[in-house]
Symmetry: C2
Amino acid sequence: MALYVKKFGGSSVATPEKMRNIARRILSERQPGDQIVIVVSAMGDSTDDLLALASQVTKDHFGREMDMLLTTGEQVSIALMALTFQAMGVPAISLTAAQAGIIAEGAFSKADIVDVRPDRVFRELDAGKIVIVAGFQGVTSEGDVVTLGRGGSDTTAVALAGAMKADMCEIFTDVDGVYSADPRYVPDAVKIDEITNEEMLEMARLGAGVMQPKSVEMGMRYHIPIHVRSTFTKEAGTIIREETTMNHTQFAVRGVAQDAHIAKIAVLGVPNVPGMAYSVFNALAENHVSVDMIVQSIRSADTDKTDIIFTIDNNDLDEAKKVLEALKQEGGVPDVIYSDDKAKVSIVGAGMLGAPGIAARMFGALGRSGVNIDIISTSEISISCLIPRTDLTKAVQAIHKEFFGSEQA
Amino acid sequence: MALYVKKFGGSSVATPEKMRNIARRILSERQPGDQIVIVVSAMGDSTDDLLALASQVTKDHFGREMDMLLTTGEQVSIALMALTFQAMGVPAISLTAAQAGIIAEGAFSKADIVDVRPDRVFRELDAGKIVIVAGFQGVTSEGDVVTLGRGGSDTTAVALAGAMKADMCEIFTDVDGVYSADPRYVPDAVKIDEITNEEMLEMARLGAGVMQPKSVEMGMRYHIPIHVRSTFTKEAGTIIREETTMNHTQFAVRGVAQDAHIAKIAVLGVPNVPGMAYSVFNALAENHVSVDMIVQSIRSADTDKTDIIFTIDNNDLDEAKKVLEALKQEGGVPDVIYSDDKAKVSIVGAGMLGAPGIAARMFGALGRSGVNIDIISTSEISISCLIPRTDLTKAVQAIHKEFFGSEQA
């Protein structure tokens, strides 16, 4: 007897037939006494259809009225899902975010859940019903409906699981878990059975998709294990949970992540006086350009000049150029070199700190593959290398083989 | 400076282009200081689309989850309507029934508005916004969304106008008002400028469409004038208001109504003892068959026998047959004759009581046209005649000519 929150995304509920499949699966896996809360997104392309409708009246796709419009998508899903269970003779009820007590605040289209008051959810569960809650939405203290932004339905599920002290939050998706590397780069990547919230956050930050950081952070805050698994198979996926439950020495490196869209910017010959780095990075920040890796080195031959080298997302390169060329005009920086052909490969693992030689093994694997390392950066649970984009696949495969080779047998 | 509640039905908001037309019209007619609340239904066929979707998961089209599903239709309309105004640079906000304080109770799919708490509506109006409210829906004290049944958006508009003490509730529709007769029967029927709530209710009861009785009753209860007018022209339509404002002697007969779907049932030779009529009508009532006109006559040649003759809606005839044949089997009634080829023609006017000779003029018009009268029934403000269905058009035209002939010149 346990309390489960199960989240199904838009592609999992795209048609009435898919909804029936989900309902059958849930009923077949339910143990006597289990209480089930289901969080669903809008059906398949329905959000795109609503956006297309909105495009006929306005070019502005954000704000209160867009949220009012888009949240109908989840409301359709929850109603149909409840009707699906009822048609099978199983008591079920759908609840909007307002009815389920999902309280949110912040800007429309990207609000944050600030409180969950699941009284009604408990009451309906206690009445023996399967409860279906609209994902991706919240209600403000004024009673306005807001959407939660990308990955919002995952956040709904984890927040609800947290507030209800559920035994498990299951995120059903079209992949069957988190992998030791992106299978598009490493076909023999292995599914990770367990990963800590910190590792998952670091993987996401370093380029691994699957879960949005917001949901993972929420799972960490509420101490709720999150099971990421496939809608289409019954096999276990990846469980994201607090680190204390796992054996680290066995998995010093949890996974390999990569980001193919990195640009490198070198600001050369900057006067080595206080505040120079600040002026560069402040100008970028004011224009919403996020900087990732940073290296600053004093030229050995010319100690009053310094080079500042850093990386940004390739998509931000045009904006960064504008900012830096303006600085150059003002005489703030002497010369800038832009490279838009970089990539980043990283290893992540909470156990790396206690396992010496990990970094050396990573650099060795890259070296033997003939991959030059441009910049190295480290965090407590990760090591990242900037490399040429053309070497990315080779690099990911070499590193994965170094750390996971034995598991491929 | 006035407060208006304006309701637009599904066909009026069927496309973004039609929404723009409505917005342009409202803005062009708005006087400085006017406050505008708009009530809209779901766009065109969108309710049918949702029903088709529901049909794929269930055959049961009533209940909480169907209401959850269908109310998304109005939510889409209000959001798009608000976006339409915003795109024109006009502040506007959409409100669901819950946000607008439309409190309802009763069965799902046909709930009744029991209270309106328009605090938020007033607040948004005072902030200079046009407020767009979802029609056809209400919220229960438990926070459930319910629909109001047929004509529900009209009811929303009138209830809101009543609670807000609006100066006028305008119902925009695809006809340009209430007519002295159904134009399908009488092509030269004239638009009625003003009609009392009682007359309108009687017209509706006797077969004239246009407005659902629930909305008219609500207008009467809240003393709110209702202006039924065309979405497509700027001409005034028909104002439904309390009778004291109008001159009755001029319009003893306000209009002609007809109902083409009447069945007549004659229960013959019933023993003339107390309780016989009760046993017949009670059995029908228990099976939800509503009886309209009733005549009971004692046979002159056989004073211990009586004939009970009455009319019902043609659609209820099969059910009535079942009930009465069962009574016959039990020996409760000796013989029953069913006729499914009747129609009813009526005249309605609150001034008829004070204008003698009205009934005689009606019967005369029918007689000159060769229409036999089967049953006559009267109320304080109407006279109805049961006639053969094949004579209905002739009858409606003759009566209309008798009372409105002079206006056709």
